[in-house]
């Protein structure tokens, strides 16, 4: 017996052989091997024999012995799958249309959002040396935590290159300015007239169309301009060598830049040579922070290498100053790729993005696609009873499970393919609208090969996502049960279907709630009592205009009866309010920062501010101009005073005032910043850093008034181009991001619920169809139409309620987080959830009622007539 056992070679080696060896050779091969095995056992013993057996078995892995892949003309099978898929699509038109409509909307959404996300993530990725470019930023701590500032002073760049040879390959500065540019007779106010060092183009990859990037900015009076500006100033003429005037300086055009890429955080229309400033005093001042400093690290230098030396660097150049002022400062490096999404930087300009927003978007896109895929799954499994016959017959005729899976997947792939084509058409049509919505022009980022690959992958992904579950369920039917008409998996799939419907409505309801909350918050913001009057106030920016011209303009305006008040100021409410350090009576030892407005006597009047203590500035007191100041209530609270106590206290701006000023009035708090932040302590002083003239118009003919203001402007300034805006519009602009979010959320909510309802419609149609007989019998037995409608729709009502239940806490949490972006916001009340729930229910009922009423009023004779 034992001897016999030794004659059995390792079974797994045999199975291995069977797995790869061609069937017609297997017998002789195994026979020979076993015969040899018997001999080996006698000669070498069992162990060695087994080993030899395995080795020799493996050696049969040769081309001649391998299994032939024997498929009898595979194209026939594919053709068959294809025909069946098309027949199925055509024979169930309603379901096909629902599926295709849902999927193509989902795919369209997804691709648009893909474009958006792709664009957002591509910021600043076009710089060839991008991985070596870092911005030098400043950081300081105070009671509110860490502050990061992206601008630095001019000496940084020079000192960095001198002190860290080898580590810092290049350092370049960038300064943004704005003002009037003149070429011969034409002048425009330019918002992006910038200055940069000569090595700017060696660090950044902004290609020049004309001019030499290495020398374009080396002259003291050189300027490089974009293509767009070339057209604007010179038309079709060659711009090279022409002279532009800016801020009293002549600049010669030495290069033409391609327009700044849409995904660049640095934006400019003109770049003039930084050398213009090289002799100015401020250029050596370590405290004049107005420049962005970028360093190009040496090859293979880690940023930490430089960053660890920064404390010594700061100590070397600013240590004494810092100790004197009682301040502390750190320098840091920020990779250029991080600039776009860094959200906590102060004093930033240029394009900035919101990373959270990008993620939320991507997530929503995915959800909408999933909702559409769920429709397909639901409808496919709902029809499983009908298709079980087909599955049964196919299996009886010898179809393997894998064949069936393949067949069903082919169907869903076909559907995904058609939907993608519809989606592409939709994208082409809707492109314009979408570009408007997100305010960028998107260009398709791929070439033709990648595009085809992209869509193919998309089709396959969607097809598999939607099709794999139904394929597995349907193909699992046992032929006997299936042919008998029993589909055992019915129960399970009903449960799953309901779960999926709940999921669809869950997402829809969350989106509805988000839309409602955002809308209500925006309404709240625009109706909030701000403490000042923003209506009928026209704003005219004066930029770098001389003060006497501003006064002339104001005098000109005051002569007109249509104008109630005129006031110039450093920043309108919602606009720029600089922070300054003050020395305040009773708080001498503390460094206290107050926000500031520099204005004239009419500021309080034009904004309709309320004086709660003391008095307004008055022209009757000549000392008011130099020696007095008004603060807001927040400041009195901050300083621990009652409003009345504040009057007469002395307060001095450490940087600007030579003598302390006296507080003569306290104004009630008004929201001079946006509602995103609370009202900080503020000081209002008469000064001459005026950037905007505010003009209060009498209600009535605005058009005429604007013409009149322009007239006065031309008289006072002669050459400056005229621009204006209205305070209430500017105010609305503060919440532009939120407005955009509202539009997008509303859009997504509508789409999500539309697709979900398509699915619901399909399911109800199917249920009604399945229950035709039941409904007929019930009707004959006396059920009313209302009862029948209730019978069909009650299940779905339950599902929507369930979805609402799940959506409520999720939406509550998410929206509270969103609202925390505002210092002043509404509470997410119960009302929102009730309204969202009602909307979802109403839409669901409406959808369901179509089919359920149709089924309920059908004549029972028709449904019961034939068996």
């Amino acid at each position: 017996m034992k001897q016999e056992e030794h004659h059995t070679p390792p079974g797994w080696a045999d199975r291995l052989l069977e797995s790869f060896c061609a069937a017609h050779l297997l017998e002789e091969v195994q026979g020979d091997l076993q015969e040899l095995y018997g001999k080996w056992v006698k000669k070498h013993g069992v162990r060695k024999a087994r080993w030899l057996y395995i080795m020799h078995a493996i050696k049969f892995f040769r081309p001649y012995a391998l299994k032939r892949i024997t498929v009898n003309n595979p194209t026939d099978m594919f053709k068959n799958y294809f025909i069946i898929a098309i027949r199925n699509l055509l024979s169930k038109k309603v379901y096909s249309i629902i599926n295709i409509a849902g999927l193509s909307i989902g795919i369209t959404c997804c691709i648009f959002i893909f474009l958006y996300v792709h664009h957002e993530l591509s910021y600043d990725n076009f710089h060839e040396q991008g991985d070596r470019i870092y911005r030098v930023i400043r950081a300081y701590q105070d009671k509110d935590g860490e502050h990061l500032v992206g601008i630095t002073s001019p000496p940084f760049a020079v000192a960095l290159v001198n002190d860290f040879p080898g580590i810092v390959a290049e350092a370049t500065r960038f300064y943004e300015d704005n003002g009037l540019v003149t070429y011969e007779e034409t002048s425009f106010v330019e918002k992006k007239f910038c200055f940069a060092d000569a090595n700017f183009f060696q660090v950044f990859s902004f290609p020049l169309i004309q001019g030499n990037p290495e020398t374009a900015l080396s002259g003291k009076h050189s300027v490089v301009i974009t293509q767009e500006m070339t057209k604007k100033y010179f038309g079709n003429e060659d711009p090279m060598g022409r002279v532009l005037e800016y801020d009293g300086n002549q600049f010669t055009v030495t290069g033409v830049l391609r327009d700044t890429p849409k995904n660049s955080t640095l934006t400019f229309d003109f770049i003039a040579s930084m050398r213009l400033f090289e002799d100015r005093d401020f250029f050596k001042n370590w405290w004049l922070n107005a420049f962005q400093t970028y360093v190009l690290l040496g090859e293979k230098v880690k940023p930490e290498t430089l960053q660890t030396q920064f404390p010594n660097f700061i100590e070397k150049y600013m240590g004494n100053d810092l100790r004197e002022k009682g301040l502390q400062l750190q320098a840091k490096l920020q990779p250029i790729s991080a600039i776009y999404f860094q959200s906590n930087m102060e004093f930033e300009s240029g394009r900035r993005g919101n990373q959270q927003f990008v993620y939320i978007f991507a997530l929503i896109a995915l959800f909408i696609l999933v909702i559409a895929c769920i429709n397909f799954m639901n409808m496919a499994t709902a029809q499983s009873a009908k298709r079980s016959l087909e599955v049964g017959v196919r299996k009886t005729l010898g179809a393997m499970r894998s064949n069936l899976v393949f067949q069903f997947i082919t169907e869903s792939l076909g559907l995904a393919f058609i939907s993608t084509i519809v989606a592409i058409v939709l994208i082409i049509i809707l492109q314009l609208y979408f570009n408007q919505l997100v305010e960028t022009t998107f260009t398709w980022p791929f070439g033709i090969v990648k595009t085809v690959a992209f869509f193919l992958i998309f089709v396959i992904a969607v097809g598999l996502l939607a099709g794999s579950y139904p394929a597995l369920v349907l193909s699992a039917f046992r032929p006997i049960a299936a042919l008998k008409g029993k589909s055992r998996s019915g129960r399970q799939t009903v449960g799953l279907r309901q779960g999926l419907v709940v999921f669809q409505f869950f997402i829809s309801i969350v989106l509805i709630i988000a839309t409602l909350v955002i809308t209500r918050q925006i309404e709240f913001v625009s109706n909030k009592k701000l403490g000042y009057d923003k209506d009928h106030i026209m704003l005219v920016p004066v930029n770098n205009l001389d003060m006497d011209k501003v006064e002339l303009f104001k005098d000109e305006l005051r002569q007109n009866v249509q104008i109630q008040h005129v006031s110039s100021m450093s920043g309108e409410p919602g606009g720029f309010h600089d922070s300054y350090s003050f020395e305040i009576e009773g708080h001498q030892d503390e460094a206290i920062d107050l926000r500031t407005v520099f204005t004239d006597h009419d500021y309080v009047k034009i904004l309709g501010l309320k004086i709660v203590a003391g008095r307004n500035f008055s022209r009757n007191f000549s000392t008011d101009e130099k020696e007095t100041i008004i603060i807001n209530e927040a400041a009195t609270r901050f300083l621990g005073w009652q409003p009345e106590e504040a009057i007469g206290k002395e307060i001095q701006n450490k940087f600007l005032d030579s003598i302390p000023k006296r507080v003569i009035g306290v104004v009630a708090d008004y929201n001079y910043a946006s509602l995103h932040s609370t009202i900080d302590p503020l000081a209002i002083a008469i000064g001459n850093d005026h950037r905007v003239v505010a003009i209060k118009l009498a209600p009535g003919n605005t058009k005429e008034a604007v013409a009149m203001v322009e007239d006065a402007w031309q008289k006072a300034t002669e050459q400056y181009p005229f621009a204006y805006n209205f305070l209430d519009q500017e105010y609305d602009n503060l919440y532009k991001a939120e407005q955009k979010q509202r539009i997008l959320f509303r859009l997504f909510a509508i789409l999500a619920i539309f697709i979900a309802c398509l699915g619901l419609f399909g399911l109800v149609t199917f249920t009604a169809e399945q229950r035709t007989k039941e409904i007929g019998i019930r009707k004959v037995l006396g059920a009313s139409v209302l009862e029948l409608v209730h019978l069909i729709s009650k299940d779905f009502t339950r599902l929507v309620f369930l979805a609402l239940l799940v959506a409520t806490p999720v939406a509550y949490w998410a929206m509270n987080r969103w609202l925390n972006n505002f210092a002043y916001h509404i509470d997410v009340g119960i009302g929102v959830f009730v309204v969202a729930g009602l909307i979802a229910l109403a839409i669901a009922w409406f959808t369901v009622s179509f089919q359920s009423i149709k089924a309920a009023i059908a004549n029972p004779v028709d449904s019961l007539r034939n068996e």
């Binding site: 050779l25 091969v29 195994q30 020979d32 015969e35 050696k59 049969f60 001649y64």
Partner: protein, 112 residues
């Protein structure tokens, strides 16, 4: 038409098939080669060569009866076809012809 080429190992296998006339199957051929030439060859190489010879038309094969030592599996017996036979004769004649023309001095060293 170019004649089908017969490799050296193929020639040995083909000769062995002839040698084990009516008893030529995988293991037997392998053993015969071992005996005759001292070469130790894996069974898979023998199989591969036999099938190649069959593809070239030099051998035919048929399945024999089942045997216990092979776990009830049948043997595949090989026989030399007329084409195989012709090819062997031809090779032999060619060699003879060459041998006859070689001067004795050129090949004075032999296996002892």
């Amino acid at each position: 038409m170019r004649k089908t080429y017969l490799g050296e190992f193929e020639e040995v296998v083909l000769l062995t098939v002839a040698l084990r006339f009516e008893q030529a199957y995988g293991v037997a051929i392998q053993e015969a080669i071992q005996e005759q030439t001292g070469r130790s060859i894996s069974i898979s190489a023998v199989h591969a060569t036999l099938h190649r010879l069959q593809d070239k038309g030099f051998v035919n094969s048929f399945m024999g009866g089942a045997t216990a030592e092979r776990g009830g599996r049948r043997k595949r017996f090989f026989t030399v076809t007329p084409a195989g036979s012709r090819a062997l004769h031809e090779i032999k004649e060619q060699r003879e012809q060459i041998w006859q023309q070689i001067p004795a001095k050129a090949l004075q060293w032999k296996v002892l």
